[in-house]
Symmetry: C2
Subunit: 578 residues, 2 copies
């Protein structure tokens, strides 16, 4: 993992490939690496679809090793959705394979001539960039089937669907899982549109002949990994709740808290919650012969993923994640798991972010395009996205554009990105993260749900403003660091509650690289990453005015708590003053 | 003109009306008044479509007097198009009538309940706000015909079409002219969407029983007005070119300069320019029995307006203004006056800004929705806006949204507003105005064409960066002051070249109000207005990053001069440092 692979899609005579050392980026992985490359090399004023933008794809520091949970991959660029810096994070197999191929990052630069489409094939012997016009406008599942036939099954792929080719602002990049399904997504911020603007349809990573990356101190590394796995298994969230029910375990919990945004954030509880809960999903999957306990990549011990099948046992989609279940469920007034799973599949297939799609459909419902609860209507709307109709292009451009085009004031977005599945009026800590994260509204950037609701890492009353800014700050710093390791963010539950598990993570990094990193060092890394991101956004024109929730969250009371967002502007402005 | 009329559309029990003194706003008119009210009373963070925004409609200081050219009206609010403060300015009869009714401003506050539509009727006896559901989704021409039947012809109206009701971001407010046609527009920035969000379809001003406003010193006022008119008639632009050919006199001139943006700003000269020139328009109008020399309001001595008729002599539209002729002509590759006039009519009828419409269609053409030069296709696109189809809603949301939805990088917009009819690469002064004006890309905010091309007020080489920032600064200051007088901006040609004409304007204001204003005082007023606007925008989140042209204007060479925009960022950042 000592090299950066730069592919210049604008090069005269066709795409050019350059392998170079890490140089100034040595020691960085994942989000730290994507954000540092973007902040250093991309002009913050650039149009996100212009040749001057770069798409950086980086596995984490521990990806490709035997370390459990190390299979996350970061995708960075200037976002077409937010206009700021973006790191979108995915599971799947690509992180492990890319790291074993020896690349700390792939950087897509320039832009292919209009209308040209390419595929990139990387194996242990080198890199090929070839025309791929035959894949034009293929949805991701059909694409990967074609790729499998040509390249076999010892591969991991990242690809865009029609949405990315159309450069829609809510397009995702999809990553294949262990079954070679393009079911995992770097969903947020329109990273797929940037890949589309570069003219790259798919990157195929061939794992033939690769071995695990070897640590400097193998003994210490194995020891630390053992403690690491033990710690994850010992914690109630990572050892029990997530394996049993996946992320949908949150449906009942968040609904009970009154922070489950329903019908475009009109209410905080959904009368149909139990029908779409993690418990219900698991039951359906067990009954029909799906699988509620499954990992999205090899080396995962939490197994929060799953497989959803229809009544005949036929694959419908991966088990939809909690945020998808919410987005296409409660937020659209839909209480049917089959519909939600179908929408999840279509989102993955066309390559769009499930959160922004659910929010956009909710807005279209408020505008009267279809009615709340209209299952077929919702499916049709996502099909429109895939077809690239005018309506589909609106929806595929995300919630903010959909609200603008339909003249809807109530758009639950920050920095142009849709809020996920937690209402910031009933769970104020997450509102601080939505408002201030350089990523736009993003639950993963500082998951205050942990402490506000799950009482992990202590407890801060979700309905009061006190302590939320500090909570969000600390979690945003920790997350920026974790996102750089390649570790799945869910490790945070165990790490926050169990100091010895946090130490095991640090020990693994130290044993692998021969470093002497401390907890303070981890904090410093997180701050460094956030600072670079904030600085990029400042240069791109963001100010404290962008670090606010939409006005109606301060005035429109949310049932059942009749809550409004009460964290003060000055507290928001102090989140990153450390 | 000592009162402000406040209409609160949110009031319990239906809209409430309050007449109050000018208070802190005494001495202000037109843009000075709209911008000061918006800057003082509107939270810069508000969603432009929310009840917290205000729509301020203000005639100028000299409106309603016998002063020639004093018939302009300002409309201010937070703009749904730019997200910043907005003053859109219109001709027509409303300024004179509103001033004679004694109102320095109408302020629409709050928002009617969703789905409710109202009309406002104002005469010398008072104000009525009544339900107007019968007018729902009526285009402006049909609406005004209905209004005429009910209220007679001694009225002036301001109204929104279907676009404003749909709250599309490029909606205009249309003002009736001397013939009671809704042909004049406060076009820019989506002010019509704000009127729509308030639930007001039309404001009807009844001029029955009104008299001219009387000056403090009638003798001096008449004397000054005489010199004023003489000065306007003596200048080549206001005395000859504009009366003969209207604003379309610019087509050949700007085309010759190489700054006539053609096919979505791809080239600087249009091969079809002579077919759509002012000379051609005047010839057609004379031949068919239209009228090339006409005023948009009583008291106009420049008479740059006109009436365009079809081959049978039937009214098609007002004579399209130069920016419209460009937007729907060269920018769409269309060289047919009949098509341009039809598009102008449709824009006015549905209530959308002709500039943003032409730019949006140009982008749709670049995206392949229709082809450049497709006359019927262009007309159909505007009809879609009127119908509110999904495509129509995209186009009606303006150029920036259209580019986003179609994934087009080349969007000629600043702060979300489309550039008008002058390419900033070939005419660099106007590029400074586009970049820095608090209004977004707006030629009227500091019309450097005067000095770059027409050699009015001196000469600054349009192709060089030197002197452009200073030129734009001075013109932006002067314009902010002129926009506050209610004077048509075209007086600036005479005022810039003839000190005695400038003095006549100052003398009129002094004689009317009993003031001792000086030229320095005018400059101070301009700076005061701009400072308030810039301050609002800063609080709304604008930074120097927003004061830039889109990237491709710095890199993509424009034929025939192979010019790029070369005014430096630091010069742009110093425009408002006085």
């Amino acid at each position: 993992m000592d090299n950066i692979l730069r592919i210049n899609m604008s090069a005269a005579g066709g795409p050019s490939v350059k392998k170079e050392g890490l140089g100034q980026y040595a020691g960085l992985g994942g989000r730290a690496l994507t954000s540092m490359i973007v902040a250093t090399e991309v002009n913050p004023a650039v149009n996100p679809l212009a040749a001057g933008n770069k798409l950086v794809i980086a596995p984490g520091l521990l990806s490709g090793t035997i370390a459990a949970m190390s299979g996350r991959i970061s995708v960075g660029c200037k976002s077409p959705l937010t206009g700021g810096i973006k790191e979108a994070n995915s599971g799947g197999q690509a992180a492990q394979v890319l790291a074993r191929l020896g690349y700390a990052a792939i950087v897509l630069e320039g832009a292919a001539p209009e209308g040209k489409l390419y595929k990139v094939f990387i194996n242990k012997d080198g890199v090929k960039v070839e025309p791929a016009d035959e894949y034009k406008m293929l949805p991701n599942y059909a694409l990967i089937n074609r790729i499998k036939k040509k390249y076999g099954e010892k591969i991991a792929c990242m690809s865009i669907g029609p949405a990315g080719e159309m450069k829609l602002s809510a397009s995702s990049i999809q990553f294949t899982d262990m079954e070679l399904r393009p079911s995992r997504a770097a969903g947020r911020g329109g990273v797929g549109a940037v890949m589309g603007s570069k003219g790259v349809k798919v990157i195929i990573l061939d794992e033939s002949g690769l071995t695990n990356r070897e640590p400097k101190d193998a003994v210490k590394f194995r020891e630390a990994n053992k403690k690491w796995v033990e710690g994850l298994k010992a914690h109630a969230v990572t050892g029990q709740a997530l394996p049993a029910y996946g992320t949908n375990v949150l449906v009942n919990i968040i609904n009970e808290s009154g922070g489950f945004p329903t019908r475009n954030f009109k209410e905080g509880r959904f009368e149909g919650a139990s029908a779409i809960s993690g418990e219900t999903f698991a039951e359906i999957e067990k009954k029909r012969g799906g699988n509620p306990t499954h990992g999205c990549h090899r080396g995962c011990v939490i197994q929060c993923s799953g497989t959803y099948v229809d009544k005949k046992g036929k694959f419908v989609s991966k088990q939809p994640e909690y945020e998808t279940t919410w987005a296409h469920g409660a937020n659209c007034g839909i209480d049917d798991p089959d519909t939600i799973a179908k929408l999840d599949y279509l989102d993955d297939d066309y390559g769009v972010d499930t959160i922004d799609m659910g929010a956009a459909i909710g807005i279209a419902m408020e505008a009267g395009v279809i009615k709340f609860g209209d299952k077929r209507g919702a499916i049709n709307l996502i099909r429109e996205v895939g077809k690239g109709t005018f309506l589909g292009r609106i929806i595929g451009s995300g919630a903010a554009v959909t609200a603008k085009v339909f003249g809807v004031e109530r758009a639950p977005v920050v920095k142009g990105q849709a809020m996920p599945a937690y209402d910031p009026r009933a769970i104020q800590g997450i509102g601080v993260t939505y408002a201030t994260s350089p990523m736009g509204a993003d639950h993963t950037a500082g998951y205050c749900i942990a402490t506000n609701i799950l009482k992990v890492g202590g407890f801060v009353d979700p309905l009061k403003p006190e302590g939320q800014a500090e909570l969000s700050r600390n979690l945003q710093i920790a997350t920026a660091a974790i996102d750089s390791t390649g570790m799945c963010l869910f490790i945070a539950f165990a790490v926050l509650d169990q100091p010895e598990t946090f130490q095991a993570l640090i020990d693994m990094i130290n044993a692998f690289y021969g470093l002497e990193l401390t907890a303070e060092g981890v904090t410093e890394l997180g701050k460094k990453v956030l600072s670079a991101e904030l600085d990029f956004n400042r240069k791109a024109g963001f100010t404290s005015a962008d670090d606010r929730l939409p006005g109606y969250f301060y005035t429109e009371k949310l049932a059942p708590h009749d809550a409004v967002f009460t964290v003060s502007d000055s507290e928001l402005d102090n989140v990153f003053k450390w």
